[in-house]
């Protein structure tokens, strides 16, 4: 695959226009520029390297096929992120087991054990260096269920509104709110216990 050094100077807008006209080299530059971000989003949702690779690749292929639909209402990378999120959600839906879902749904109705916990230290991450904080957050996210991690990722990292999350996750706004509440309280508890672990 020959490199195209001149492409790296071009803006995303220019590259998208060129790609929309069939310019594969321009699209390749877009892939190179944003591949980490798209892969990272997939990984944050499915937490499996292989699956994230496959899903991110599929997202790029779909991106190429749907380029004509991209109107520039958002940035190109935001548009691509939405594509990979949808693919991840489809994947998660396929993997969902009925039994586990009912247990989780029951917990969501009642709020789970976290509902009854006293509020923890309001700032479990105080004084942490950024790298350490990110590691702890990542560890804590890994301990959440897929449903709860998904809603947290979509709200906190993608900054989607409840309505948008409900649409993408194919559930009610009430369910989004319950899941988000549960996920946040669980994160608070996990971050507090990670802090205690490290202090020992």
């Amino acid at each position: 695959m020959a490199t195209h050094p001149d492409q790296s100077e071009r803006s995303d807008v220019d590259l998208v226009r060129a790609a929309q006209k069939g310019g594969m080299a321009a699209f390749e530059e877009l892939v190179a520029r944003h591949r980490d971000k798209i892969y990272a989003r997939a990984y944050s949702m499915v937490r499996n390297e292989d699956e994230a690779l496959d899903l991110s690749q599929e997202a790029w292929v779909k991106g190429w096929q749907r380029l004509a639909q991209f109107q520039g209402d958002s940035s190109f990378v935001t548009w691509m992120t939405r594509i990979v999120i949808n693919l991840c959600l489809d994947q998660l839906r396929k993997q969902k087991r009925q039994r586990a879902e009912s247990i989780e749904m029951l917990e969501e109705e009642s709020g789970g054990v976290e509902r009854y916990m006293p509020t923890s230290n309001p700032n479990p991450t105080a004084g942490l260096e950024r790298t350490e904080l990110r590691k702890r957050i990542d560890r804590a996210l890994g301990q959440l269920s897929q449903e709860h991690r998904t809603v947290l990722v979509l709200h906190e990292f993608e900054e989607l509104e409840y309505k948008e999350i409900a649409k993408r996750m194919d559930c009610s706004i009430g369910t989004v709110m319950s899941r988000l509440f549960y996920a946040r309280r669980r994160m608070a508890s996990l971050l507090a216990s990670l802090k205690r672990e490290n202090a020992e």
């Binding site: 695959m1 591949r35 980490d36 690779l53 991110s56 599929e58 957050i137 906190e156």
Partner: protein
């Protein structure tokens, strides 16, 4: 605290409440210590997460990753260029029973055929900058995939007739496999 109120406190924090309701909840937070503590905890989690997603790097080289995407795009483009859908559907309608018989016949033949040499060098992909040379050595029955840097001129050397000159002693250490 009732769950309904808890969720409203959260929605207030997230700016998801209509203005009038938001004002009412705001007053509740100010007046009720328990509500205030819950909101503080939720806010702390929000603040901790904001901008602190762990950076993740895609674990494949640019060229290798792109080559797979490009191949898939080309495959799907070629597939879309097939005969018009209706004609294909009609042919499928009439041919599917015949296809079924043919598949069955193939399976029965394959189940009873003698062992044949397996095919090798099937679908494979190699990272950009690398070359893979695959060969099947008849004398040993071994399939070899030799990976080399594209700039490396050396070929997989064949066994010589004469012995190579002796090398000097050296501490070999752990020959950590480095794929160049």
């Amino acid at each position: 605290m009732k769950q309904d109120l808890e969720l409203k406190l959260q929605a207030w924090l997230d700016g998801e409440l209509p203005t009038a309701e938001a004002r009412a909840i705001g007053r509740e937070v100010a007046a009720d210590a328990e509500a205030g503590r819950l909101v503080a905890e939720l806010q702390a989690v929000k603040s901790a997460l904001a901008g602190n997603e762990m950076p993740v790097v895609l674990p494949e080289s640019r060229e290798f990753y792109w080559s797979k995407i490009q191949r898939q795009i080309e495959r799907e483009t070629a597939a879309q260029r097939g005969t018009p859908a209706r004609r294909v559907a009609r042919w499928r309608y009439w041919l599917s029973p015949l296809a079924g018989f043919a598949a069955l016949a193939c399976m029965m033949i394959m189940a009873t055929r003698p062992d044949v040499a397996p095919s090798f060098d099937e679908i494979s992909s190699t990272a950009e900058g690398m070359e893979a040379v695959t060969f099947h050595d008849q004398s040993t029955g071994v399939t070899v995939v030799w990976l080399a840097d594209s700039s490396d001129q050396s070929q997989p050397a064949q066994a010589p007739d004469a012995a190579a000159p002796p090398t000097t002693s050296q501490d070999s250490g752990d020959p950590d496999v480095e794929m160049e």
